[in-house]
């Protein structure tokens, strides 16, 4: 089975690295990390992810803006985006889970929830 390609955009490199090592350890995923949000489009164009996990609050660029850029890019517009955020309570996350078609996952995320989310958005 062809591994799912996951792009993780988050300024916390420790988090992206550990997530990448863990996901790739399963053998089911290919993971690319972006720690500077401004480089998201550039990386995504060559990596061609099946799904993008996007941090909301980043120093260089806001997650929302990154999402807008992705949706504006003809090559990437169809790629599903899931936000990862630290400032949303589970309640809020639940209410806003379908706003603008962008699901949320509240940090800290479990590997299992990532796996389920990928499975939900990228059927084999």
């Amino acid at each position: 089975m062809k591994p799912k390609r996951i792009l993780i955009v988050d300024d916390e490199s420790a988090f992206t690295r550990l997530l990448r090592l863990t996901l790739e350890g399963t053998g089911k995923f290919l993971v690319e990390e972006v720690n500077d949000g401004r480089r998201t489009i550039e990386v995504a164009r060559y990596f061609k992810p099946d799904i993008i996990f996007l941090d909301v609050v980043m120093p260089e660029i806001d997650g929302g803006d990154v999402a807008t850029q992705i949706k504006a890019d003809p090559e990437l517009a169809a790629v599903p985006i899931v936000f990862l955020t630290a400032i949303v309570s589970p309640k809020e996350a639940r209410h806003q889970s379908d706003i603008g078609g962008f699901p949320f996952l509240a940090k800290p995320v479990s590997v299992e929830s990532i796996v389920q989310t990928v499975a939900a958005h990228c059927p084999s």
């Binding site: 916390e12 420790a14 988090f15 550990l18 997530l19 090592l21 863990t22 350890g25 399963t26 609050v57 990862l84 630290a86 400032i87 949303v88 309570s89 589970p90 309640k91 809020e92 639940r94 209410h95 806003q96 889970s97 379908d98 706003i99 509240a106 940090k107 800290p108 995320v109 479990s110 590997v111």
Partner: protein
């Protein structure tokens, strides 16, 4: 036969006349013989003296009715001695007898008071008898006249009333001593021949003159005329004057006689009495308390203005002679009358009795004092009663008591309110604290959650690599639990974070309701909870989808929690039109709508126990909750309220007739134009 009794001649009884005879020695006894011959006529000599001086003692004693004095040779000397005898002039008549007729002696004798002058040589018994009888008669008349004159003069001299006689021209003919005193002259003689004009002011004299002329002209008396006169000494005196016409013996009116009494003191006394009476009357009339006097039969004999008013009578005189039964209900009248009778019977006063009655139809409280009234002999002749109307005082007292208890109640309310305020203040402090925590949490969460995410991810990574070793696995498990615990704390804090700005977009409420229902689906228990949707075709509303979604999630969550043992949530949407401010679907914030506005109304009802009515008003207070501790934060409905306010909508909560609570949300319909 004897002679009939009526033929017996009874000699008339002869009055004995006691004679004192003075006849010098040697002048013979002619006189004695003459008198003796008159014995049958009652003349009897009781004393006989040779000279006047010898007879003096007997004369002093008035020991005779008539004195016959033969002045003999001594003549004039004896006559002078006779004249000097005080008794003779005044009381005992005397006749002088001379030896020869001497004109000068005769004149002197008569001047000295002798009744007659006789010449001894010409005396005969009839002549001397006649002379003696005339003398006695004349003396008697003189005596009588003198007595009357004396009485008259005593009257004039000693009666304090002024008595006076005036001629037709107002000149004094005669006046009493008191007239002289009144007119400030020494003796009555000083006024004779003068008129009032001589003594009084022209005004007074003229008035008097006019009065007297009227008496003379009309021949009718003026009786008891009261007048205030300015006296010659300048003082004013009150007089009572009576004037009568004065007639001569032919009946012709020749003047006036009058008697004037000074009544100044009487008048003064009368004035004082009147003043006292007026003062008392004025006092009684002007006292604000009703006063009345009753006789022994209970009839009013005196009342004052306040009492008449109290009885509702306009005229004080309408009260006099009536009884309490004429003015009051029989019950009260009997009661009052019984008290009166007790006072009259026992003579004991009844002081300050409180009684209830009605005056002019209004309930009235009186404090009454009743005192028996006694005459000079000490007998009870009636009673005096003074009432005091204390209704206002009583009412004021009662009002004060009521006000006092109201105040006490108000104070209790204030204290309660104060306590509630204290509790609310604590809640507010708690709320403020919570908000601060929320803001802090929002700021901190990001910084904390990212490291937590790293740790969490690291733990998972290590678990995948070294999880087969049991000891390592247990350490990693503890790490993972610690991360979860920290995360739970952060999540809890984030629930307090303040609402963000709203983004109002046209939204389909039906769709939001459906998705919110889907979100809480996990909390339903399929066997117990049912959902009934009655969603009309409704226009869009301008709303923040996330916020409104939160509203429904909160409402559904509350409904499910209210129906622990199962029940039905009914959700109904419809379009309505505002018909009037405050009186319709809008509820408490209906001022946000105007009459004629199209609105979308959403009702969320449950079949739970409802909300106790006294708590309904507090449902939207922050931290208010009916749920047990730990089951709710008490923020849900306050969040609903604040969100609805942000949407320019309203929210209202009520209990349903059939049980359970119903929350009504009203949104303004979106008009795309």
């Amino acid at each position: 036969m004897t002679k009939p009794a009526d033929s017996v001649t009874v000699p008339p009884k002869v009055q004995t006349v006691r004679l004192l005879l003075i006849e010098p020695e040697g002048s013979g006894s002619g006189l004695r013989d003459l008198i003796d011959s008159l014995a049958v006529h009652g003349f009897r000599i009781v004393h006989e003296f040779p000279s006047v001086s010898a007879a003096a003692a007997a004369l002093d004693r008035e020991a005779a009715d008539l004195v016959l004095a033969d002045i003999g040779e001594a003549g004039v000397r004896e006559l002078d001695q006779l004249a000097a005898q005080p008794a003779l002039n005044s009381y005992v008549p005397f006749i002088v007898i001379d030896h020869a007729p001497r004109e000068d002696i005769a004149r002197r004798a008569l001047q000295a008071g002798a009744q007659d002058y006789l010449v001894k040589s010409k005396l005969t018994p009839p002549r001397i008898e006649r002379a003696m009888r005339w003398s006695l008669e004349r003396a008697r008349i003189e005596r009588d006249l003198k007595r009357e004159s004396d009485l008259f003069h005593a009257l004039l001299d000693y009666v304090p009333d002024a008595i006076y006689f005036k001629d037709r021209h107002g000149r004094f003919l005669h006046a009493s001593a008191s007239v002289a005193r009144r007119l400030r002259v020494d003796s009555p003689a000083d006024v004779i021949g003068k008129t009032d004009f001589h003594f009084y002011t022209p005004e007074v004299a003229e008035a008097t003159f006019v009065d007297e002329q009227r008496v003379i002209e009309t021949a009718r008396p003026l009786i008891g005329k009261m007048e205030r006169i300015e006296m010659p000494d300048g003082t004013f005196r009150w007089s009572s004057t009576t004037k009568l016409p004065l007639r001569n013996r032919h009946g012709r009116i020749i003047g006036t006689c009058g008697i004037t009494r000074d009544v100044t003191d009487l008048k003064k006394l009368e004035g004082e009495l009147a003043a006292e009476r007026n003062m008392l009357r004025g006092l009684i009339d002007n006292l604000p308390d009703p006063i009345y006097v009753k006789d022994v039969h209970g009839r009013y004999v005196l009342d004052n203005a306040a009492h008449s008013r109290f009885l509702g009578v306009e005229n004080q005189s309408d009260v006099i002679g009536k009884t309490v039964f004429d003015f009051f209900e029989p019950e009260f009248a009997e009661q009052a009358n019984a008290v009166d009778e007790a006072v009259l019977r026992t003579g004991e006063s009844r002081m300050n009795q409180e009684e209830q009655t009605s005056s002019a139809g209004k309930p009235t409280w009186l404090v009454t004092s009743k005192v028996p009234l006694r005459n000079e002999a000490g007998e009870i002749t009636g009673l005096v009663c003074i009432n005091r109307n204390v209704t206002e005082e009583r009412n004021a007292k009662n009002a004060l008591l009521a006000a006092n208890s109201n105040l006490t109640a108000a104070l209790a309310d204030v204290q309660r309110a104060h306590q509630e305020l204290g509790a609310v203040q604590l809640q507010l402090i708690e709320a403020e604290k919570s908000k601060s925590i929320g803001r802090l949490a929002a700021g901190v969460a990001h910084e904390v959650k990212n490291p937590l995410a790293i740790i969490s991810m690291g733990v998972e990574f290590l678990s995948g690599k070294y999880g087969s070793d049991p000891t390592t696995a247990s350490v990693l498990k503890e790490l993972s639990d610690a991360v979860s615990r920290a995360d739970t704390v952060i999540k809890g804090l984030l629930d307090f974070s303040p609402p963000r700005q709203v983004e109002l977009q046209p939204q389909d409420l039906n769709a939001i309701i459906r998705s919110a229902l889907a979100l809480v689906r996990g909390e339903f228990r399929g066997d117990l909870h049912r959902v009934e949707l009655d969603l009309d075709d409704i226009p869009t509303v301008l709303a923040d989808r996330g916020k409104v979604s939160q509203v429904f999630v909160n409402l559904f969550t509350n409904a499910i929690q209210a129906m622990d043992g199962g029940g039905t949530i009914s959700v109904r949407t419809r379009v309505a039109q505002i018909t009037g401010v405050g009186a319709n679907v809008g509820g408490e914030r209906s001022e946000v709508f105007q009459a004629g506005d199209r609105v979308v109304v959403v009702e969320v009802a449950d079949t739970g126990p409802g909300i106790p009515p006294e708590l309904l008003a507090r449902v939207f207070e922050p931290f208010f909750t009916t749920k047990p501790t730990g089951k709710g934060t008490g923020l849900g409905m306050s969040v609903v309220k604040s969100i609805m306010n942000l949407q320019r909508g309203t929210v209202r909560i009520a209990n349903r007739d059939g049980g359970g609570a119903v929350v009504t949300l009203t949104f303004k319909a979106h008009d795309p134009t």
